[in-house]
Symmetry: C2
């Protein structure tokens, strides 16, 4: 990146520093993109935990105080809270401020933002950095979890091209591979590559637990890998899954068709059909790059 393109902001604000928000905060400081890092917290009792972290310069439960005067605002709360905060942030963000979020669904958030940021002098573009884990909480935060992960950003009609370019660079400097698509397409794609896997892992886990609770501990890495994400936060995932209802209902139906075909092939001893499904699965899996 040429010197004149480098990101040098005075202050960034992380609204809701959980695992992802705090990891972003650490990355912003490490890469020297910002001088000051402020956080907004819902819970006053956690202020002292934040202040104790060396990446955090100031922590408050006052959203207005946290937003005003910031050059970059990253909304990292659950989706419902992001939607609620957008109106307030659009009122309080200073001219030129870049506002984004990390919500797993973009259509609803970006529609709300389009309405609220229209005509404002601050700029909103939605982001979905696909980093995280089944763990949650600031204590697991680490900028390494951001490296080589995908970040989808979702420009809309109100998106300002200069701030879009800046936002893209910020994610890239943090370590992400950035892709752009519109919010509708985003929700369809993550329904497929993220939400459906969560549903299938949960269904598998519940089936195994019902069928052989006593023998689950004998399992090899196969079951563990296949169900790891089922350990994710249920309330967070409820919001995500219900928020992507239409895409998910058709994706589940497609999975149901495949599962039914697989069952019929086994039940009828159709080795050719079983092998065909297994080979398609193997080939598709080999397209995924495990090294990043």
């Amino acid at each position: 990146m040429a010197q004149e393109d480098s990101i040098k902001l005075h202050r960034a604000t992380i609204v809701g520093p959980g695992l992802l928000g705090a990891s972003i905060a650490i990355g912003l400081k490490e890469k020297e993109m910002i001088q000051e890092l402020w956080v907004w917290l819902r819970n006053e009792s956690k202020i002292k935990d934040c202040i104790g972290e060396d990446w955090c310069d100031y922590a408050t439960i006052n959203l207005k105080e946290a937003i005003q005067g910031s050059d970059l605002v990253v909304l990292c709360t659950p989706i419902e809270t992001i939607v609620k905060h957008i109106n307030l942030v659009s009122e309080w963000a200073k001219p030129g401020c870049i506002v984004t979020d990390v919500g797993s669904l973009k259509k609803r958030i970006c529609e709300e933002a389009e309405n609220r940021f229209k005509g404002k002098q601050s700029f909103f573009t939605g982001s979905h950095p696909m980093a995280g884990s089944e763990k949650s909480g600031m204590r697991y935060a680490d900028s390494k979890i951001l490296q080589n992960k995908s970040c989808i950003i979702t420009p809309t009609a109100i998106t300002d091209s200069v701030s879009l370019n800046k936002l893209e660079k910020i994610w890239e400097v943090l370590g992400f591979r950035v892709t752009k698509m519109n919010p509708d397409k985003h929700d369809q794609v993550v329904g497929c590559i993220s939400h459906l896997p969560h549903i299938m892992a949960t269904v598998l886990m519940n089936t195994v637990h019902n069928s052989c609770p006593q023998q689950m501990e004998l399992s090899g890495d196969g079951l563990k890998d296949t169900t790891r994400i089922a350990a994710g936060n249920p309330k967070l995932w409820e919001q995500i899954l219900l928020g992507n209802k239409d895409n998910l209902v058709s994706l589940i139906e497609e999975a149901q068709t495949h599962l039914q075909e697989f069952k019929e092939a086994i039940a009828s001893n159709n080795g050719e059909k079983v092998t065909e499904s297994l080979m398609q699965g193997q080939e598709a899996r080999q397209c995924l790059n495990d090294d990043r």
Copy 2:
């Protein structure tokens, strides 16, 4: 383990040294349970590869030569070949020889072995060491893949208790946690904890690949973990799945019920029901110990 209980055999034979067979060979040598390690190979051209490995003392495509004079025979080929070999091995194994296998299904193998080894002076007990990976082949062999994994051994009416105890110790010294159950129960349990996960991973992979082939590469670790085992060898898995038909058809039907309920809960915006399934999945997943 008391000194008098330690395993000291002269010769072991691995029939079919793939990833698992060769890893067992390495472990037997490292733990000094055997002096000589022989292998039987289907393919003459691979003899020189085996002889080149420091854990291999002799390699042959002559099964009789490989079996005669051995104190421990481990059948590590695909299931169909194990079933075919059992009769020959029962004829050629020397008195007192411990014969076992590593097949993923035990009912069919143990039934065949009960018929063939009855009245013989060598002893068969089925084993299922649950180690391995979606990779295959001797070149990935490593005794580390055996550590802290489960091994199910499946005694039957013909099982000799002295050789059963020895076999149990051999697996334990190699690093396994050993559990005993009858062959029928084994097939039901692995249908649940191993075969159903393979089917669900394949179904998910095929659904994702059909729905968003261009965007699969954006996926995070969730999709990768959840589908890793779908990269396994299709021909091997065809044998396993068709060989466990009855158990798998009912397990798939149970998964179908859970999936349908999940879809209905999402389609009807039933947040309570969605959360309930997610919470059950989270709780069940937390029972699995990722550290072993």
